[in-house]
């Protein structure tokens, strides 16, 4: 077996598992949202409505594929797969257990921040290519938001890098397994950095309370306004993928990744990731939406200074204590 086939099979396996998780997450989110609103959620399609995502995908496959006359055909068709690929590419450096990791890069944190930042590109391509005012407005907001929140995201991710002295994601987890989870000690750096990372991650993946780019009450459906059938499904999936993988990254950087007692590492990683993922949806169905200017004010006035202070604090901690 060549390295390439091995890699392809390995990667294919990871992608399959993640995609299945996303499909289940769609069901789970609908159920969770329903329970929070004292409804039942899907119950009639399969046992407990578990087949709901299957029915959704089957239906979306059968829908007519509309490309608006005035749209830029190339860009319009390019954006949805690009979004899904970008979200999946980040998964390559996430250590799902001590042995399951797609590519254990030395500059793993740098890689995931760089690829994660590329996620804004398909959004803008879709907004521009649709030739739709709502899509373009959504894209403009998304870019302003993503570029701004990139800064606190990077600053928050720098804290574990400085504390552990490595950019290798697996090494960061290894360090936490041998010493402490970073959220536990030094907690006065770990907890704020974790919160900062989660906030910036919510904004990066355009989730409530930062879902201004697709604010339904103002922008119809934001960038996806003109997309039908499977193209829309790809966008939707990319959004969930982004959230899921960002949750996994947060778990790896701050919560000790696969480290935990009694159970295999994979179980711990899955529990932490899905817990954070559920938290994101808990937030989504609880909170309201920020206004655009409040969003920017929060980022530049509070999150960025906090991030800088945390990075400085981490450096001082390493020099004088660690």
């Amino acid at each position: 077996m060549t390295d390439f086939t091995h890699g392809a099979l390995y990667g294919g396996g990871i992608i399959t598992v993640i995609m299945t998780l996303v499909a289940l997450a769609l069901w789970g989110e609908r159920k969770m949202a329903a329970r929070m609103q004292s409804r039942l959620g899907p119950t009639l399609v399969g046992p407990f409505g578990l087949l709901q995502p299957v029915a959704d995908v089957l239906k979306l496959l059968q829908k007519e594929d509309i490309v608006p006359d005035e749209a830029d055909r190339v860009l319009f068709n390019l954006a949805p797969p690009l979004g899904a690929i970008g979200a999946l590419a980040v998964a390559a450096v996430v250590p799902f257990s001590a042995s399951i990791i797609g590519a254990d890069l030395d500059a793993g944190v740098l890689y995931l921040l760089a690829i994660g930042a590329l996620g804004v590109l398909p959004v803008f391509i879709a907004g521009w290519g649709s030739n739709n005012k709502f899509a373009l407005l959504g894209a403009m907001r998304a870019i302003a938001q993503s570029v701004s929140y990139e800064v606190p995201l990077v600053l928050a991710a720098l804290v574990p890098v400085i504390l552990t002295g490595t950019m290798k994601v697996s090494a960061i987890v290894e360090y936490q397994a041998q010493h402490h989870w970073l959220i536990a000690w030094p907690f006065f750096l770990g907890v704020p950095a974790f919160v900062l990372f989660m906030l910036a991650m919510l904004a990066e993946s355009n989730r409530i309370p930062f879902d201004i780019p697709e604010a339904e009450s103002e922008l119809v459906a934001g960038i996806t306004t003109e997309y039908t059938g499977m193209k829309f499904a790809l966008f939707y999936m990319a959004e969930y993928l982004h959230t899921l993988i960002a949750s996994a990254v947060a778990a790896a950087l701050f919560l000790g990744g696969w480290d935990g007692p009694f159970a295999p590492g994979l179980h711990w990683m899955a529990a932490k990731t899905l817990g954070l993922f559920a938290f994101v949806y808990w937030v989504r169905w609880t909170l309201l939406r920020f206004r655009s200017d409040q969003l920017m004010a929060l980022c530049w006035r509070w999150l960025v200074p906090t991030g800088v202070a945390l990075v400085l604090g981490a450096a001082l901690w390493v020099v004088f204590v660690g």
């Binding site: 409804r39 009639l44 089957l58 829908k63 306004t225 059938g229």
Partner: protein
């Protein structure tokens, strides 16, 4: 609005996705196609996403359908705000003639296969707005409807039932059965308007006459009936014509001040008076309203020999505490233009457009004298007194 009768709207009943066509024609797949078809139909019927065309009170019941007691999400229905991602358009509410082209456009933006549910009496037949000049008598006059959910408004359970019937209909369509709309004679009778249409043979001349009388001026008896006023000290009524306004009127040569209405000034001084009043501090335009009077049927106490005319009443007020109001009228013949006030009061723009739209008063010098409430190519002036009450908007009648 003009909709050409040749225009065909695809109902989407025969739509097959190209991918499905390929599978159907692939040799060796013949055994599985029945099962495949069942599977695809199962997918279609269990993930019907709704585009809410909710315009009025039915929309509230529609929201209740998505809320906790009924929860239409149980059968996989979610609401999408963009027509591109919806399968079912639920028309919940009254659709006006001005709205109809927009509804049709949104319908055409939805990808095939798609279905339409007409929710509530207004969407089905126009209900008691049916004979109104601005309302479409049922959305099925301009777009295909698959399921009718009767009610005013239908309760959430009814809409849920409608969605279940739509599932059945899709299943039968996909099995190749010809689905004929079921005509429920009792229901059809209910949705008939209480007064037959102008064109219907059942309508008698007496009915037309009775309606014209009903839409006519109130009789003298009705007008002179005394108002019941509670006993007590007489309220302090501020004089209708304030000191400065009276002086201004005198300056303009208007001496006759009627006791029960605004003073009527010469048409030529309409604009000048508005300018002078604004200079005096009357900076807010309260209202501009025109009334159409047929020959000999002017307002109470008017000369019976008076010809047909419009009476355009304008009211302005000062801003701040102790606000004063000044109101005046001008009279103009039906084809006589009046100078616009939109240069003096910006708020006059839409007020004048409304009077133009509903009565046909023409404002000379208006920057944008288009129809405001009716469709832009409407030909009627529904608030004129000779407009028959049961004369709906073309092309629906």
């Amino acid at each position: 609005m003009a909709m050409s009768p040749q225009r065909t709207v695809d109902t989407g009943a025969n739509f097959r996705h190209p991918l499905y066509q390929v599978l159907l024609e692939t040799p060796g797949l013949t055994v599985g196609t029945a099962a495949l078809d069942d599977l695809l139909t199962w997918g279609l019927t269990n993930a019907m996403w709704i585009f809410p065309m909710a315009t009025s009170c039915c929309g509230i019941e529609f929201m209740a359908t998505a809320a906790s007691r009924v929860d239409i999400d149980r059968m996989g229905v979610i609401v999408r705000a963009t027509p591109r991602q919806a399968d079912v358009m639920v028309v919940a509410g009254t659709i006006t003639t001005k709205m109809a082209p927009r509804v049709l456009k949104l319908w055409e933006q939805m990808p095939e296969p798609k279905w339409c549910v007409a929710m509530g009496s207004c969407a089905i037949s126009g209900d008691f707005y049916r004979n109104l000049y601005s309302v479409v008598p049922g959305v099925d006059t301009f777009m295909p409807v698959d399921v009718y959910v009767p009610g005013c408004p239908p309760n959430p359970e009814a809409l849920m039932h409608g969605m279940l019937r739509l599932q059945e209909k899709i299943q039968r369509q996909r099995r190749g059965e010809v689905v004929v709309p079921e005509v429920n004679p009792g229901l059809m009778k209910v949705t008939q308007p209480s007064v037959p249409r102008l064109t219907e043979p059942t309508r008698s001349p007496e009915q037309t006459l009775a309606q014209e009388r009903a839409s006519d001026n109130p009789t003298a008896d009705e007008e002179s009936a005394p108002l019941e006023v509670a006993a007590g000290p007489a309220p302090q009524v501020a004089p209708l014509v304030g000191g400065d306004f009276a002086a201004l009127l005198a300056e303009l040569g208007v001496t006759e001040l009627p006791a029960d209405g605004p003073p009527v000034i010469p048409l030529a001084q309409h604009l000048e008076l508005a300018r002078r009043l604004k200079a005096l501090g009357y900076r807010q335009l309260v209202t501009m309203v025109a009334t159409h009077w047929l020959a000999g049927k002017g307002r109470k106490g008017a000369d019976p020999a008076e010809p047909e005319h419009f009476e355009l009443t304008t009211a302005v007020r000062t801003i701040g505490p102790g606000s004063k109001v000044a109101a005046w009228s001008v009279r103009l013949a039906p084809d006589e233009p009046v100078l616009t006030l939109s240069g003096v009061f910006a708020g006059a723009d839409w007020q004048e457009r409304e009077q133009f739209d509903l009565l046909g008063v023409r404002f000379a010098g208006h920057p944008d004298l288009r129809r405001l409430m009716q469709t832009e190519n409407a030909t009627t002036f529904p608030l004129r007194r000779d407009f028959p009450a049961d004369a709906p908007a073309p092309p629906w009648r």
